[in-house]
Symmetry: C2
Subunit: 405 residues, 2 copies
């Protein structure tokens, strides 16, 4: 039975639910949605694919498929992963109903109520929901602009009296922090885990969305580093490179982990939609992904540049952030005496929303940050949104100064 | 953590896996697949729907949707359920990724390892997998041609020292038994549960597939009986009326159960594919379901009639069965000294497969039955398949007689 912890029911989702509700209003400027803009989806390409499918392939789309996934898609994914330096070797691919299902399957495979999971702080809120619903004990480790804090990770592992089941990280274009781990930091992380028996869960949903071709080498997954004594489960998603509505993700793991994962998946939804898998496979097999990614990267880069420019223009000097090199997010840092939640309460009345910092803290406390997603922003709204946000922050700064004096 | 019981890994799935492997060979005559035939899917209708979708609706198909489901589909389902006599009233619909996900969600919501679940015997093997992977203690109650054995159900409940979490039944065109509960038996079942606090999980995946319009009243769900002191969760599926590849199902439950179920689903796959939900919604909203069902019913009736006729012609008198009034299956009864698994071992070498009886027994023992699915059979194969099957059974009867003498 799922543990319906207060955390899930009240802390994270309260903000998120309110945001979603608010964000559905038409006049809102929303930096909240960590999703592509509807106008960026490859609708035309999928139209072409759908209408050129042979009749027999279409019929297959209506039918049950193997639990592990539609075999041609698994084959296409092997090439896709090879391009990222991931040799399949002794590993196997399991297609999942979104990459969140992969995280859910792995959690159900390894974690009992009360078991320890290590995460980053901040951490992807979807993964936190999964970990909390099974009643895991979450210990989080801070990250800086180059990745997870290695000393903090070491101390944490040493301080625990039980072995954590796994460490969950999103090293490439982190959600919400926007950073990418340096290769050095990835190497250090593997060194710390080496020999501990702690599994590394490497969630790589954003790595195709780099802004600069010259920095492509930075996305190299830890699973491709050839480290033999760390068990690494790698997960990926079609949500950022095709569309979340397809609900397609995958995991790459050792055969032993794959086999149990397949059994768990069998009892979760039997198999992932063949219909969606067939369309996604053609998208890959017909080489439509790379041209589409080129388009996406330029669109997101343009939005990031606009947001970066307006933040530089309008934000008071007390507000800092790291300019992202890819992905969807800018992660603003507020002075410690100003709470993201208070800023939110003010901006929402003026029609601007974002996701508050504490949403991404497993303990729901740390609230000196706020996440701005530029991925789903109409370009014309960005400046207006930043102006309202910066004015609200300036007002809060003044009020807090007045209070201090 | 999922309980990886031996049952799941070895008993049920061994046969099923072997069957699936065998059934993928081209020359096999397969009575095994509990699924529609590829040639029966409404490909043309979905083509028309897809190509007439407004651009904005298509874009929505690529995007995340609410966890509870695509609102227009929920609305269409309300009408669909009203036609079955199910007033929504205080209940809520949750769209799920196939109806197996609904069973999985309900199990995760209510069942801890070691908790008791009541099922029919025989029981849908997909549900058994779900119950076994969470480590439930399964107690099964026999069914006869009119439904669950009421006295056996009463005695079972009285004999248990703990309250079962729920009773799982598939009253309409049972898988594998092919029967439909009589209205009287449905009423008696509700009387037994009344006041016990045992939830009724009513799985209704096949009710649209009756063969005779005059018997339509028989499918009336127990949830529509107006019994106030039995908590009933009703589940349905698009797999039999559109296609399993859509991975679409739903559950109808009280608001309290719905809310927790939504939280569980949030952590399983966030939401069900908007793309698939949009196509399914148009299929319902454009009134394409009823004409398609008329076609399906006549196709399945024809296949059932062929199978029934050839069984009557070729089967020895020792073999009995109930002629089904709808659904996908005929459930043959063998004399007690002949094992379904032994028959299978013989027929598979001759190119004929089916699912063995013990697959559907939670204890994996009762093996005097075999399930023949006519839904996925090319009509021309039916006679040949029955001839091979009946010859094998006759041979087994002779051998056993010889052994006895």
């Amino acid at each position: 039975m799922y543990a319906f912890s207060n955390a899930v029911n009240s802390m994270h989702s309260e903000d998120v639910k309110r945001l979603m509700k608010q964000a559905s209003g038409k006049s809102l400027i929303s930096f909240a949605g960590g999703m592509p803009n509807n106008d960026l989806f490859p609708v035309k390409q999928i139209d072409e694919i759908y209408n050129s499918l042979p009749e027999d392939t279409k019929k297959l789309g209506f039918q049950y498929g193997p639990t592990s996934g539609y075999p041609p898609l698994i084959k296409s994914l092997e090439s896709y992963l090879k391009n990222k330096g991931l040799a399949i070797e002794d590993n196997k691919i399991l297609i999942t109903t979104g990459s969140l299902q992969a995280i859910s399957i792995i959690t159900q495979e390894f974690v009992n109520e009360g078991d320890i999971i290590l995460t980053e702080n901040p951490c992807f809120v979807g993964a936190l929901s999964v970990f909390e619903t099974v009643g895991a004990e979450i210990h989080s480790i801070p990250i800086d602009k180059n990745g997870i804090d290695i000393n903090a990770l070491k101390s944490k592992i040493e301080s625990l009296n039980r072995k954590p089941k796994f460490l969950y990280v999103t090293p490439n274009y982190h959600n919400p922090a926007g950073i990418i781990y340096t290769p050095e930091r990835k190497k250090q992380l593997l060194e710390v885990l080496s020999g501990t028996g702690i599994i590394l869960l490497e969630d790589d949903a954003y790595s195709d969305l780099y802004f600069n071709e010259d920095e492509k080498h930075l996305i190299k997954p830890m699973k491709s580093f050839g480290v033999k004594d760390v068990e690494i489960i790698y997960t990926g998603s079609f949500s950022k490179i095709l569309g979340p509505g397809f609900r397609l993700g995958f995991m790459l793991s050792s055969e032993e982990i794959f086999e149990k994962a397949e059994t768990v998946k069998q009892a979760l939804d039997a198999c992932t939609s063949n219909f969606m898998q067939i369309l996604a496979n053609e998208f890959l097999a017909q080489q439509k992904l790379e041209p589409y990614l080129t388009f996406l990267r330029s669109e997101y880069l343009e939005r990031k540049n606009l947001l970066q420019k307006h933040l530089e223009t309008y934000m008071p000097k007390e507000i800092t952030w790291n300019e992202p090199k890819g992905g969807f997010y800018i992660w603003l840092k507020l002075p410690p005496h100003i709470k993201s939640t208070d800023i939110f309460k003010e901006t929402v009345t003026k029609g601007v929303v974002f996701v508050t910092g504490r949403t991404f803290d497993p303990a729901s406390r740390k609230d000196d940050r706020l996440r701005l997603a530029f991925s789903n922003m109409p370009k014309d709204d960005i400046e207006k949104g930043v102006v309202i946000l910066s004015e609200t922050i300036k007002k809060a700064l003044k009020t807090s100064e007045a209070t201090i004096q």
